[in-house]
């Protein structure tokens, strides 16, 4: 019995040793972050083109984001809007817009007009069930004014809905731009 125990102990210690020495110093693979939206480009085409850009290349890292508005909108004008989403954190830039288009019944953009800004928006696209998606929209300006316009993308909202209040789902994008109508 003693010999048996000894044998077992030796076997076990060998196992442990083998386990410990199997350590290889290879570096783990870096993770290629997918489905991260680093960039949102909202193009408003009217008599003049206005581009709203959001960019934050380190994603949820601590670096600050940049928000730019290329210029002022003209009063009493209708613009055709389109939204483009990119992942620029990788060398090969990824078009997130396409993924949203493929699953448009599970996504919806909402446009929230801040106090003071005199504009209205309307959806210009729909999913397979006839509900709005919001990658395309029209924006009609009223009188000269200024205020914020917020773009919210909800994943798996209740569709159809009356707006953000009862849409539910989880927020994938929520960004505000300060606009001027003149």
């Amino acid at each position: 019995m003693k010999n048996y125990l000894k044998l077992v102990s030796i076997t076990l210690f060998t196992l442990l040793f083998v386990a410990c020495s199997s350590d290889d110093d290879a570096a783990p693979e870096p993770v290629n972050e997918e489905e991260v939206i680093t960039t949102m480009i909202v193009t408003l085409n009217g008599p003049d083109q206005v581009v709203l850009t959001y960019q934050d290349l380190d994603g949820d890292g601590p670096d600050a984001e940049t928000l730019t508005v290329s210029g002022a909108l003209s009063a009493n004008t209708t613009y055709e809007g389109s939204i483009r989403l990119l992942n620029e954190s990788e060398e090969e830039v990824e078009e997130i817009t396409e993924e949203i288009e493929e699953e448009d019944d599970e996504h919806q953009f909402f446009y929230t007009i801040g106090t003071g800004l005199d504009v209205t928006t309307e959806y210009a696209d729909e999913d397979e069930n006839g509900n709005p998606v919001g990658l395309s929209f029209t924006l009609t300006t009223g009188a000269a004014s200024s205020g914020s316009l917020t773009f919210t993308l909800r994943h798996e909202p209740t569709k159809p809905n009356d707006g953000l209040e009862n849409a539910g789902g989880s927020t994938d994008i929520e960004k505000s731009f300060d606009l001027v109508v003149q």
Binding site: S9, L15, P28, D58, G168, T171
Partner: protein, 798 residues
Amino acid sequence: MKYCIIITLLFSFVMNSQNCNHSLEGYVLDFHNGEPIAGATLQIKNSQLQTISDSNGKFIINNLCESSLELIVSHISCDQKTVEIDIKKTIQTTIYLEHHIEELEIVAIKGNNSNNGAISAQKEKIDKKIIDNFSSESLGTILKLAKGVSSINTGNKIVKPVINGLHSSRIIIMNNNVRMEDQEWGIEHAPNIDVNAIDNITVIKGSNALAYAGDAIGGIVVLKPLRYLNKDTLYGKTIAGFQSNGWGYNLNSMLSKSFKNGWFTNGNVGYKQNGDLNSPDYNLTNTGAKSFSGNGIVGYQKFEYGFEANLSYIDNTMGILSASHIGNVGDLVNAIDNEEPLVIDDFSYAINSPKQEVTHLLGKINFYKRFNTLGKLSVQYDYQNNHRYEFDKRIGDDRDKPVVDLELITQNIKSDLMIDKFDNSTIYIGVTGKYQENIANPETGVRRLIPDYEKTDISLYGIWNTSFNDKLKTDFGVRYDYNFIDAKKYYKTSRWEERGYSEDFSDFIVDDLGTQLLTNPTFTYHNMSLSAGLIYSINKNNDLIFNYGLSSRPPNPSELFSDGLHHSAARIELGDLRLTKEISNRVGLSYQLEASKINLSIDAFINQINDFVYLKPTGTQTTVRGAFPVWEYFKTNAFLAGIDTNIDYQFTELWSFNSKFSYVYGENTEEDIPLIDIPALRLNNTLNYKLKKWNHLNLRLAHEWVGRQNRYPDYNFETYIPTIGEYVEVDISSPPDAFQLVHLYGDMTFILNQKSNLNLMIGITNLFNTNYREYLNRLRYYADDTGRNITIQIKFNY
């Protein structure tokens, strides 16, 4: 149970020519200390020849014929044992008897103690009969039956034990003498245990059980499997249950066989499933769960040596409330402001994202041998593989990809020696070596929550138990733990700079990939733990127990390395490489009264923890999804104190009453504010009625009252919500209101024949379908807790 075993026979040969003139002589000695045993009867089987050992343990039997004979040795406090002797010559033999086991057993029963030396620790035992009544429940739910134990939950099925206000890495779970290694650091990581494979549970509060661990600042949960008798038996049990809330069902079957010659085997398989649970007013969408488990044991046991091999496997899939999947702090504000969850669908068994899938494989083998006049040596090797997947709501090709894919492999070898040769003392010493590897799969496409790491631990301990006289017992223990952690982690360069690591930890950097840095953080910890205790028996009915424990816990990988957005919690969690080990000084004082009608026990404690690690919100950070609160790991000094009481009162033979009370006070003494996540005051009263002649009818009416936690830190913060264009306060701190629940249980046992019986149980929890939310439920912001549940369970013993 008594053992009397003859361990060694030392033969010496003397020539003798006459056939029936042989003699057998020798000594009967105590196995433990080699002292002579007087008064042992030695009889030759099928013969009138017998003798009794004298005061020196000596005996002699003359006039033996040359033959093979069986010698039956017995003593007043032992089972009789038979040894075969081949009589060819006069034989001298020494017979070792296991002598004082009976005495030890009595102590063990009285002190509920079989836990490697921690005789003075504050502890409480939950036995099989109670576990069986909760066969469909989680370990965490059952542990709440012990006073001073509450739970921290993510929904209803992910339940982690909280002992005296402490949880997660501060609590060690020992499953059949194996330390469970299952990524216990997260609040949403529940222990992977099938309660049906457990025979009894002992909750040890505080760190005093040093044979198991030195870092169990909160406590240790010891799970023990069935003990086997060396008898020819075949025993089986099948439990089938149904739960109305969530249309759940569970089936568990166990078969156990043991042989007189020492072999035993046991197998256990179980499956349970439930669909969406419901609160009193609505469905809790995506709270379904299913679990498969299997467990097998084979072993051989003699008093002097034996072995056991155990293999167990569990596969859990758990849905997480749909409404708790939120995008940003604005969604959190909506959830807090809404009475009802934002997603309520019809009942379904489907488990969709967000969900967890966890498998845990545990294999172990151990051997023991008793050495005469020394004690018992055991050697154990165990292997664990814990694989954890977490799924979130994702889009496109990533839809079915997990966001977390972690494999934790642990190997452990340990050796323990119990020295029981001394009359009044028992000494335990042991050594453990552990190697652990965590592999984070990069294919998830999400930055690793926990990095790849390797961890090596070596520990040594010694415990001394002694009794000075009938009234005073003491124990003293010391343990040393060495931990070495070697991680490989990618940091975003921006995060590395922001944390200020470039100054302190630049030598960790292995590679610079531009936006990311590959680092190799290594940490070494040396931890000393101490335990000391006194048990003073004032008289037959009254005991006073004092204990002190010093323990330290190095920070876990999550506390050191967390970095980034925790999707399911909608927050950014940041670990800190600068964290150091927690050091706890805990003093416990208990009083126990055991009288004919009343049993009373009071456990009080104070626990001062230096460099206590906790998570605290420090502001918000904007991302594309909007603003997220940032929670960072900090260290502070914490002071905890509490009292737990238990009263059993037997009114009459039929009626009895039980009352349990627990209160914990927790203070962050550096900032003079209450500690976060301290359980609220809790009072449980149960009225029992037992009528044996009505098929062992048991009725229990239980009342549970949970107060509002009025001592909480205010970590609320303000955030700007662009969609409403306002700053709002995010109330993440306010605890929910006090609540009370009533439960009713009844069971009857029908004796079918000598060997089999059938137990029928019906239980109704939350009888009045009360709406409530628990402070320590991470999903309390989103939905009410579960409503009424009717359980019907049939248990068949055969």
